[in-house]
């Protein structure tokens, strides 16, 4: 068997393939990541129990978010689904002040969007789950933080804040995430 001759054809194919490298133009990086983040926010709601007073048995689940157009489009895919048998009502917020978050069962803050201290206090008082996916801005800024790690998205839970909001998080979820006491 003449290996050099045999190798020529496949090597040429490999080279031709990588000659195509300049075509590797990155387009809209992060759409996939946005989809994964949105799915995570949706998935964790299965492990959270809201007080009956803020989420009555027959009412809808109000899913609020502060996000850009691309993420809004991604989140639109969740609308119509259910969270614990509550139909999801999606609401995009213009800002994140205490007035805006009123009536939300969940607020999802993307990028550098953050709640002011009074808005967070209002969210805690109204048992609103606050989820953020941007850089961590300090203590008491999110109950659940999405954290990029090793090319994946992981979760960190601020248990004190969650308890203050009278929300209950299932132990199964806590086993899969980082817990900040």
């Amino acid at each position: 068997m003449n290996y050099p001759a045999r190798l020529a054809a496949p090597l040429a194919a490999l080279l031709a393939m990588f000659a195509l490298l300049p075509m590797a133009v990155a387009q809209a990086p992060g759409t996939r990541e946005r989809q994964i983040r949105a799915a995570l926010v949706y998935k964790i709601t299965r492990f959270v129990t809201w007080p009956g007073t803020v989420l009555p048995a027959t009412g809808p689940f109000t899913f609020c978010h502060v996000s850009d157009d691309v993420t809004s489009q991604v989140l639109a895919g969740i609308e119509g689904r259910a969270i614990q048998d509550h139909r999801i009502r999606m609401r995009r917020l213009d800002g994140a002040d205490s007035k805006a978050v009123a009536g939300c069962n969940l607020v999802y803050l993307t990028g550098t969007n953050a709640l002011a201290a009074d808005a967070m206090a209002a969210a805690v008082a109204a048992s609103t789950l606050v989820v953020a996916d941007g850089p961590r801005l300090g203590d008491n800024t999110a109950m659940v933080q999405l954290v990029p790690q090793d090319n994946r998205v992981t979760l960190a839970v601020d248990l004190a804040l969650v308890r203050a909001a009278q929300l209950r998080i299932d132990a199964t979820l806590l086993q899969m995430v980082e817990v900040r006491q």
Binding site: P10, F18, M23, R46, G77, N151, R152, A171, L174, M176
Partner: protein
């Protein structure tokens, strides 16, 4: 069915929403490599071993990792060889399972099986192992007869940083691995690894002495991922490995002592390079082009010396722009060149080679085309899958492997599926052009010199030795039609159950036929040729059983897997497999099947418990049971129950100290025997080793 590596790029937000939380947490941000799919939505019997499962497992080889997969049979023959099959017909030369590593087929065209010792990728770099039981013929092609094992390694982006592992113990004498990943520009990531190990020999079952099958190997590999975002992704990766493994070989001779126990050394090495381009053509459509080159060299003492170069090109297009359809089409080309010689190192120069008739070089070509469409009949509830693969091999012609699958998901927690599929096992190089020496039967009056080691061979009354070999016939593709059904139910977020049942109807399985032996030299049919020849002129008789495809039969069974998290820190995983098969040749015509249906246990089960005793400590206990088997003529192996354990402590975030134990219940136990009767029976010993892992 379209699991990870089967399907190229292409996804929508909806796909992620249907995964469970663990699966979403496991998704890579920057890969465009696959269509995510929840196991519960696959219309097939699928089991996934995740990176986390591997990290928590005391297993340090791929075969040991596969032991707890429902429906898979894994048994050790020597320290570096295993019999591994799905749903039966197992053996050292098991040839009905396809194994892929990052889309590269690693089955050997020599015997259509897998050299498991050479599949030594760094376990820490494995992203997931998908085991699909049942014919996977449509997407993957020939040899996915009983199933597919699909090993997918991590992308370079998810292997950042440096990790050093060192371990030492009684059986795993020493092992070390170093891996490092980094960024090579804004849109490029790389990783590489080097690893090596030295493993102790097992014991001869007969005498308890060392089986002299100690095993040393080293490997290195690298991967580079280019491009980012959703539109284009390029990967180039490659590995090199070298290993030496002892084998307690029983060689055949045409002179006294006729059968002799000779510890030998098998040397093997290989290298491969894979290039992959994935392009997201539009929001819904994507393509994948993959090219690989694979070189292997194996000096398998007393068997054969083989050099092989395979190159393969695969193209897939994934089209989802047609409403209600999810279509994958693909075309593949493969060429495999080989060169053979006798493997005589370390054995008497006149010993018979087990693999005969393999000299010189040859070329095998294959062209394949496939199409598979998931058709949504009722959105979110009912999906019909239709697919077919057409393969053309110049030697065997064209084979078609179609399948029909139906998935019904009445609710998010229930799925029911059923499938009918056909698959083929294409003849190996040995099947087409070669013979296998089964044994030399001793002449009358001659006694075995080491009967305890050489058990399993009968003595007959012939004045000269008889060489038993199989070959010199015509083997065509073996065929199976599989009927499968399953149900998957998620009782809650913490408890899920997966049950699958199957019946395989075999057609045209390989057979050999008993024929009267012939005199050598001189020819003629015994005993007439013996009687008519001058005394002493006939040196031996040769019984060359012609091979063919004259066995039919069936195999059926039930497999169940349970995953339960009863309380937060405790996770239990259980698996039960019940199996029966019967293959029947036409015994009246002197025919016998070459696959042993008795080599597969009727029942096996496993139960693993993972306990997270706080953030810094993990404990794993795994109990497994395998029923008795009869893997070779005259050799019965008792059933066994064994316990594996792992205790890990992380005093710092970047440091883990772990104590691993394997086969803890017995000081040694036998698991299997080679159906070729080419190695002495060995027993696996209890193994304990410590491991230190440091990340920096």
């Amino acid at each position: 069915m379209a699991l990870a590596a089967a399907a190229p790029a292409g996804h929508a937000a909806q796909d992620f929403l249907d995964l469970d939380l663990r699966e979403v947490l496991d998704l890579e941000i920057t890969t465009a490599s696959r269509k995510p799919q929840s196991i519960s939505q696959a219309a097939a019997a699928v089991h996934v071993i995740t990176a986390e499962d591997i990290r928590r497992s005391p297993a340090r080889t791929l075969p040991d990792l596969l032991r707890t997969v429902p429906g898979l049979q894994v048994a050790s023959i020597t320290s570096s060889t295993w019999a591994i099959s799905a749903r039966g017909l197992n053996g050292r030369s098991a040839n009905k399972l396809l194994v892929l590593i990052d889309g590269r087929s690693v089955y050997s065209p020599l015997f259509s099986g897998v050299n498991w010792d050479a599949q030594d990728t760094a376990l820490e770099d494995i992203e997931r192992i998908e085991v699909v039981r049942g014919p996977g013929g449509t997407l993957w092609g020939a040899n996915a007869f009983h199933g597919v094992i699909n090993i997918i390694t991590r992308s370079a982006a998810s292997s950042q940083g440096t990790q050093l592992s060192l371990s030492a113990g009684n059986e795993q004498k020493f092992a070390a691995s170093l891996k490092h990943g980094g960024k090579a520009g804004e849109d490029a990531n790389y990783r590489f690894y080097v690893k090596g190990f030295d493993r102790d020999a097992s014991r001869l079952t007969s005498t308890g002495a060392s089986a002299r099958d100690d095993w040393r190997a080293a490997s290195a590999g690298a991967r580079l991922d280019f491009g980012s975002g959703d539109s284009n992704a390029f990967t180039i990766q490659g590995d090199y490995h070298y290993g030496e493994a002892g084998e307690p070989t029983i060689v055949n001779l045409l002179r006294p002592p006729y059968r002799q126990y000779v510890p030998t050394q098998t040397r093997y090495e290989g290298a491969n390079v894979v290039g992959r381009w994935q392009r997201q053509v539009s929001e819904s459509d994507s393509l994948t082009l993959q090219v690989f080159l694979d070189y292997t060299h194996r000096d398998w003492a007393a068997h054969t010396r083989e050099r092989r170069l395979t190159w393969d090109v695969d193209f897939q297009y994934h089209l989802r722009s047609v409403p209600r359809n999810d279509l994958i089409i693909g075309v593949g080309l493969r060429q495999s060149d080989d060169a053979f010689a006798a493997a005589t190192r370390g054995i008497p120069s006149d010993a018979l080679q087990f693999v005969q008739g393999q000299t010189g070089s040859g070329v095998q070509n294959m062209v394949s085309f496939f199409a598979q469409d998931d058709i949504t009949l009722l959105p979110d509830h009912l999906t019909l899958t239709l697919g077919a693969k057409i393969e053309h091999l110049p030697e065997t012609g064209t084979e078609v492997s179609p399948n029909v699958r139906m998935l019904w998901t009445p609710s998010a927690s229930w799925s029911f599926w059923g499938a009918v599929s056909r698959a083929v096992r294409t003849p190996s190089r040995v099947d087409r052009r070669g013979q296998v020496v089964a044994a030399v039967e001793l002449p009358a009056g001659f006694l075995l010199t080491q009967p305890e080691v050489l058990r399993g061979f009968n003595q007959i009354s012939s004045p000269v030795p008889i060489v038993l070999q199989q070959g010199s016939g015509h083997v065509d593709a073996e065929r199976v039609v599989a009927f499968e059904a399953g149900v998957k139910h998620r009782f809650s977020d913490t408890l899920s159950v997966d049950v699958a049942a199957f019946r395989n109807e075999y057609d045209r399985l390989r057979t050999a036929q008993l024929v009267p032996p012939a005199c050598a030299p001189g020819g003629g049919i015994a005993p007439a040729c013996l009687l008519n020849s001058p005394p002493g002129s006939v040196q031996y008789l040769i019984e060359n059983s012609p091979v063919g495809n004259r066995t039919d039969g069936y195999g059926h069974g039930v497999e169940m897997a349970i995953d339960w998290t009863p309380v937060g820190p405790l996770r239990l995983q259980g698996a039960v497999s019940l199996f029966k098969s019967l293959t029947e040749a036409n015994y009246a015509a002197g025919e016998f099947e070459t696959d042993r249906d008795s080599g597969t246990p009727r029942a096996q089960w496993s139960l693993s418990a993972y306990w997270n005793a706080g953030r810094k400590t993990d404990l794993m206990l795994g109990l497994r049971h395998v029923d008795s088997t009869s893997p070779a003529i005259g050799i019965d192996v008792d059933g066994y129950t064994e316990l594996d354990a792992r205790l890990a402590w992380r005093p710092r975030a970047n440091l883990e100290l772990a104590l691993h134990g394997r086969n803890l219940l017995h000081s040694q136990h036998q698991e299997y025997a080679s159906e070729l009767l080419d190695v002495a029976l060995t027993s696996v010993e209890r193994s304990v080793f410590g491991k230190v892992t440091l990340k920096f």
